[in-house]
């Protein structure tokens, strides 16, 4: 297990079973204060189950799930901003009444919650809708309100379960901007997402969960290293022989080869110049050649397969 200096989230030996079916098996990880943590996995791998158990919404079968050194208890724990995967609001109430209600439940005074809400609505461009019932708002407008409710009261810990799911591009940008802001303000962020470019851009560390078991855990660089670290992309003419048959390229794995664009994964510590020399020596006509860090996207596909994320 990777350990962090000042853990905000601690999960140890977490197990969750529904009847005879075990969906999480001996899961453990930590999230340090101020860290942005990517909690990744295909649909049905157990991410939402873990978050719900961490937040006390469901009871774990076994294990320890702590926030700030103790099991999560509403009000007794620190400030939390939670955007669940299944999300909604009181549809028959007005925007501002709903936001004030959540603000007060999060510990704000009614007047502070009202001021904050009005300022937020101004910021996201819907100040005129403050008194409008939520069911009269468009989907995108409701998403903005949802997001506002999540980040009310300056959360110390933000847990976002597929935050961009169902968001239109405008709101997605808004969301990511707000997440960036919260990070800069020192908030700890735990984020479930399938957007690997967001993970590479935002996350300090990640955990990849598959069938309830952690398949990779560590910093983004550590995980990339563990799954082949650096890959080499090159352009070639004609047919590319299997790298394993090329002298000097034993142990090199072919990741992709399409329309003259190929990607190979050499063993850790391999000198890219030696790879190029071996290719040329084997008669491969190389017109472009570049070592690149392995993308999380390709690691995700390797672990979960091409059809990950297409339903439970």
């Amino acid at each position: 297990m990777s350990s962090v200096a000042e853990p905000v989230v601690e999960v140890e030996h977490f197990r969750m079973a529904f009847g005879a079916k075990t969906v999480i098996e001996d899961l453990g990880f930590e999230i340090g204060r101020g860290e942005t943590f990517g909690f990744l996995g295909s649909n049905g791998s157990g991410k939402t189950t873990t978050i719900r158990a961490l937040l006390g919404i469901t009871e774990p079968t076994a294990g320890r799930l702590w926030i700030d050194g103790r099991p999560f208890r509403p009000q007794a724990s620190g400030r939390l901003g939670y955007l669940p995967e299944e999300r909604g609001l009181y549809r028959k109430e007005s925007v501002v009444d709903t936001m004030v209600y959540f603000g007060r439940l999060k510990g704000m005074t009614a007047s502070a919650a009202r001021s904050w809400s009005l300022a937020y609505l101004e910021r996201v461009g819907i100040p005129e809708l403050a008194r409008t019932r939520l069911d009269k708002l468009s989907g995108g407008q409701q998403q903005k309100v949802q997001l506002g409710v999540t980040v009310m009261n300056e959360p110390e810990l933000l847990i976002l379960d597929e935050p961009t799911k169902g968001f239109d591009p405008v709101n997605r940008r808004l969301l990511m901007g707000i997440v960036e802001e919260q990070r800069r303000a020192g908030a700890t962020v735990m984020m479930v997402t399938h957007q690997m470019e967001e993970v590479e851009r935002l996350c300090d560390r990640i955990l990849l969960l598959k069938d309830g078991v952690a398949r990779a855990y560590g910093s983004v660089a550590e995980v990339q290293e563990a799954f082949g670290g650096t890959t080499i992309r090159f352009r070639h003419d004609g047919t590319l022989p299997s790298p394993a048959t090329i002298p000097g390229l034993e142990g090199v794995r072919l990741i992709a080869d399409r329309d003259g664009e190929a990607e190979i994964a050499p063993p850790p510590g391999t000198d890219p110049a030696a790879v190029l020399a071996a290719l040329v020596g084997a008669g491969v006509r190389v017109s472009a050649f570049a070592p690149v860090r392995r993308s999380l996207d390709s690691i995700f596909v390797e672990i979960y397969g091409e059809h990950a994320g297409e339903g439970e």
Partner: protein
Amino acid sequence: MAGNLRTVVSFEVGRTLSKPRFWIVTLLIPVMIGAVFGLSAWSSASTASSADQQASARFPFEYQDASGIIVPSIASAAGGVAQSDAAQGLADVQAGKVDAFIQYPANPSTETVTIAAKDIGLFGNGRYDAVAAALLTASAKQGISDPTLAAIASGDVTTQTTAYDGAQESRGFAAAIPPLLYLVLFYLVLVLLYQQMLAATLEEKENRVTEMILTTITARSLVAGKIISLFVVGIVQMLVFATPIAVAYAFFRDQLSLPALDLSTLVFDPGKMIIGALVLVGGFALFTGSLVAVGALMPSVKDAGPISAVFMVAMFVPLYTLTMIISDPGAPIIGIFTFFPWTAPVTVLARNALSSLDLLSAVIVIVELYLVAAVVLWLAVRFFQYGAVEYGRKLDPRVILRSMRSRRTTAA
């Protein structure tokens, strides 16, 4: 904890009271009660007046008197002419010469008076019975020389009963009315809040708010807050019902012809009032918990409706035994309804008011109500917590209870 409970109560109460629909429905009740009372009073007055008119109606008729009781002068004053031939009497009616032919038998106290009459409609035909009976009564009174006996014979008698409970004078209905108000309150509050109780936790599930809300407040506090807010809304509704009635009684009694009730004659027996209050609160808690639990198991109000109807039936069934509660409170069915938790509130509130409930039974029922209500409320919270993330699915309570047991075992 207390702060968030207050927040939930103020939010729930505020949003209920701010809806025009709430005020329309709440104000409609006293208006409807007033309308029903008005119609009923008008209808009674109209019926009595119609009966009097029928009895004193004058129309041409013939009569045959085998009893010898009918006084010819009285019959004549009513439009009657003696007819000795029954066949001719019937023929005269059929020919339209007279409106009716009345045959008085030899002994009208044991035999039937028969009337052949012209049809003047379902209600109009009543005048023939009324005149035949009035003629007989007036003639009979004429035969009694003593005016006192004549008055007694016509049923003009006033009685006054004083009942004793031991050595103490019993106050009858004056003592029954105040505790009976608890029963009225129980019905009004539950009928009006039934839908809200059922939907108390369903709204969060249907709108997918549960997960967010449960990270700010515990399921227990949320459910408690909702139940308290239902109670507050119930009290507001009671006040709204009472206000127009009190205003009408205080300022418009004469215009509305309301009876002048002497409220000072009402007897507030402290024992009955305390028992009634405890049963009312316990019953309210039990029914609220039961309906919230059903709501927590179901994905929508529509799905919860049929199951919750069972509780409404349990609430109304004891009403059908009300006469038995008065006449035979020891009947086995009354015993069952008294101690079965969901029929107990109505049965016990009625028995308490009608003085057919002993103290021991009252204590047993009150303890039972509070215990069962506590268990049901606890289950409601557990069901809500377990069903919080089961969007769009019905939950099986057995699966939840099994799951709770297995977690306890694992934890041990």
